[in-house]
């Protein structure tokens, strides 16, 4: 019961207010204009931008994070390296927003030297900003995925080896299927993490709106007369729907992936 109270107060109530206000105009009357605005090509562009950035940065974070987590898991479970990685990941997963953007700004600076790409590449969308997002996506993946890898028992690998299977066969038929549901779950978490990230991209691409989150900011704070809180609510509703679609897709995949676990 306290759980439902908590969820109601901090999840359902705000969502309800957003949905309710999305159907009103600034004078408080019922309207569908906020919703029809979601259909115009510019707003569609913001949603496509948000989706692209979230997907790409989630995939990059998940793949590299999973590899890193595997490397950490295969080390000494009480070793210094593992503790160092976990502590660093715990800190870095929270290292986002303006601090991260400013760290990059200082890194790139006026005359970049020794960087992989020209400085302008880091401003590109979605790849440049994905590199910046990777700084919190990869550590987050390490944190959430490590327990799943730890769950793989050494005995399973030994059994598979003693039955004469190759490393590829072990991962294809044993390790992979075991980890897939956890991997997909972590991927979804990273997707939502990137979708709701705002301060980093706002500090990095302030003057160019690419994502829905940036556009919500503009419509709540514009000092040139474009502030429209109901339009912001409609955009937020759109994000709720986007997450719902991704969640549904995830649930279907999860069911398929975990079928044999039952």
């Amino acid at each position: 019961m306290p759980f439902f109270g908590y969820v109601g107060l901090f999840l359902l109530l705000p969502t309800g207010i957003v949905v309710w206000d999305a159907f009103k105009n600034p004078t408080g009357h019922f309207t569908l204009s906020g919703l029809t605005a979601l259909g115009n090509s510019q707003v569609r562009g913001f949603f496509i931008g948000s989706f692209k950035l979230s997907l790409v940065s989630a995939l990059v974070g998940a793949v590299f994070g999973a590899i890193l987590a595997y490397a950490v898991a295969s080390g000494n479970p009480d070793g210094v390296i593992r503790r160092l990685y976990l502590a660093a990941s715990g800190v870095l997963a929270q290292f986002g927003g303006v601090t991260l953007a400013f760290a990059f700004l200082a890194l790139i600076g006026p005359a970049p030297t020794g960087l992989l790409f020209h400085a302008s590449w880091y401003y590109s969308f979605p790849w440049g900003i994905t590199v910046i997002y990777a700084y919190f996506q990869i550590p987050l993946m390490v944190l959430v995925f490590l327990p799943a890898i730890d769950g793989l028992k050494v005995q399973w690998r030994e059994a598979s080896d003693s039955l004469g299977s190759s490393a590829w066969q072990y991962w294809r038929y044993v390790g992979g299927p075991l980890l897939l549901p956890a991997f997909l779950g972590a991927l979804l978490l990273l997707f939502a993490n990137a979708l709701s990230a705002f301060a980093t991209i706002q500090a990095w691409e302030d003057q160019i709106p690419y994502t829905v989150a940036q556009q919500i900011y503009t419509s709540t704070s514009s000092e040139v007369g474009l502030a429209n809180i109901n339009y912001a609510d409609a955009l937020a509703l759109g994000m709720v729907v986007l997450v719902a679609i991704v969640m549904t897709g995830y649930a279907l995949l999860q069911r398929r992936a975990a079928r044999w676990l039952r």
Binding site: I108, A111, Y123, F125, D206, I208, P209, Y217, E223
Partner: protein, 326 residues
Amino acid sequence: MTALVAAAKKEGTLNVIALPPTWANYGAIISTFEKKYGITINSALPDGSSQQEVNAIKQENGSPKAPDVVDVGLAVALANTSLFAPYEVSTWSSIPGAQKDPSGLWYEDYGGYMAVGYSTKFGTITSLNQLLGPQFKNAVALNGNPTSANAALNGVMMASLAEGGTAGSIAAGVNFFAKLKKAGNFSPIQATGASIKAGTTPVVFDWDYLNLPSYVGVSNWKVFIPQNAVLGGYYAQAINKNAPHPAAARLWEEFLYSQAADGGQNLWLEGGARPVEQPAMTTDNTINAAAASKLPAVTGTPVFLTQAQSTGAAQYLATNWAKAVS
């Protein structure tokens, strides 16, 4: 005036809000006033915004800490006239007619022109088209997103005027920034003191008094205003109608609009801002000529956006800015 000074001294205190000491010389203005009249100034929330100033009037209504006077952007002044008391300073006739409310509810105080500040490593810049050259890769920044920040909107409008547009249409400016973006020269990072010092935004579109080497804190920095693209923007003074120190508030306004050598108008000028009575002071020879000669040079007639023009520009940006620069 003598009666006003006596009444203000009796109140002894003045509450001001959102006046950063480095902005337009407010540090010196506040200390000069305090010394001259022996009145203590409580300066609240020095880095606040115009909207926060009027919010403070509403929220602190009736409290002795409520702001007595505000210095706000014109849009905010126009939207909140019901909070202000009418007052006409003794130099009222020196304020150009278009820059004050006929009933005295608000009156513009100082302002500037939209300018391009740039690092001297680029040599001398005399036209916006130079900025499309390859040496400006990633260099050019606005002060914010033009669909939300007023200074950025005016930056795009200034480019529009320089490209042959009119105050009624910002399209040419949006085109200019699209070309800039295509050339890879438009930096998406908002220009701030920090980004200028780090060298990440070596070319910045902003108001000239916020683009001075002394304000940005970088010595190898120059400012220019493109030919025939003189776009002005002014702040406005107003008195809280429920001011806790009504006499001090009025004395403050008299001080700010005084044309004396140590009056507010010349002090603003020394801070790089253009005082609203500058044309009259130039005619009357009351202006600090040395400070005036340091302002960036201007060729062409200044343009001031009307409320309708600025709303029109915002509407155009709402549908076209994202497309042009992404």
